[in-house]
Symmetry: C2
Subunit: 233 residues, 2 copies
Amino acid sequence: MRQLLLISSSRVHGTGYLDHCAEQVQDLLSGLHRVLFIPWALADHDAYAETARARFEAMGLGLDSIHRASSPAAAVEAAEAVFIGGGNTFRLLKTLWESGVVEPLRRKADAGMPYMGTSAGSNVACATIKTTNDMPIIYPPTFEALALVPFNINPHYLDPDPSSKHKGETRETRIREFHELNETPVVGLREGSMLRIEGGSVELRGGVGARLFRRGEEAEEFSSGADLSFLVG
Amino acid sequence: MRQLLLISSSRVHGTGYLDHCAEQVQDLLSGLHRVLFIPWALADHDAYAETARARFEAMGLGLDSIHRASSPAAAVEAAEAVFIGGGNTFRLLKTLWESGVVEPLRRKADAGMPYMGTSAGSNVACATIKTTNDMPIIYPPTFEALALVPFNINPHYLDPDPSSKHKGETRETRIREFHELNETPVVGLREGSMLRIEGGSVELRGGVGARLFRRGEEAEEFSSGADLSFLVG
């Protein structure tokens, strides 16, 4: 039974790294001892792993970083749980494909290994990275991602600002353009929100709500606690 | 001698389509009669071409849209001038490559055919689209673009907002991440600004200034009228 926690952002305004989701993380990983961290979305793997290690140790959990493993695929095979951190989604996805961990990550997550992601780490758990907000700083071999769920997430979702003078596309316009070319539903997760997936159950958590975008339909607002299991049905 | 006008955005707050750059457009196209429009960044080519046609007719210029041409490459070969409009950069780039116009666009622009672009149309004139702000809604065959200039543009450039509570990356952070993996200089063009390129001369125009980002260097601010010819030297 799949056990996933897909978090919009690792930080929200006014609190520290993973503070706003610590309770959900501890619930996901309860009874486990160590998590395998994937720092590939940022350039400085050592520094990123240290940040994550300190935070997980504060929750009573050990952390190993995949960039120190001689075989990334073997590290995934041996992992109790995996956490993919945020950063640049293109850089992350390219490294996931080139290091040979996509297939073992899919297989282990399908078999019930807990998986958590923040921001880019939530994007890559989805069908594709086509709804990332990131700059395409490097060309990946495909936009197809881990597909642990059959929908997409737009992390750091921002509601349109009616007072804005900026003429760049709003987030909603960008997602509508995605749906001109794609069928996949998109969950716009505001900072502070997250999805907890247990097998066929999908629950919205985190208090700030989310918007669901489906091709040819009006966007729908959902509150924390909403049952979104229909997305995996 | 190359004749390019690379505009950040087709609109700025408070004025209509291409109003803020009309004088520069008329200067670029002076003495010409018709422009070839490329509407591929948006889904509705007919509607987009009508918007552009009305605006160019108001400037005394005729407009043909490439989506009505039986051979896009032949339309480019026959064009007096080309205008690529904004929208989604990934969709635009994919269509440019797949329709066979990249090579004729490069050759004609090198031979002096005036080229103008707004937003995505400015991104694709550059070395790569790796500094677009757009969502990657479709997978292009490469991120390499027309390379009419050896640098990149970030259109709709936004200065960091010190009062923001949002935890997504600022534009400057995104461009810094680009420079972790790439050498190409990036001109952050605020809405209202544009670059006029004549052969080896690059001038910043439009009154709102721009920021230049180079790998390993502090960002530099330039005012309207600045000579940026060193970017093509």
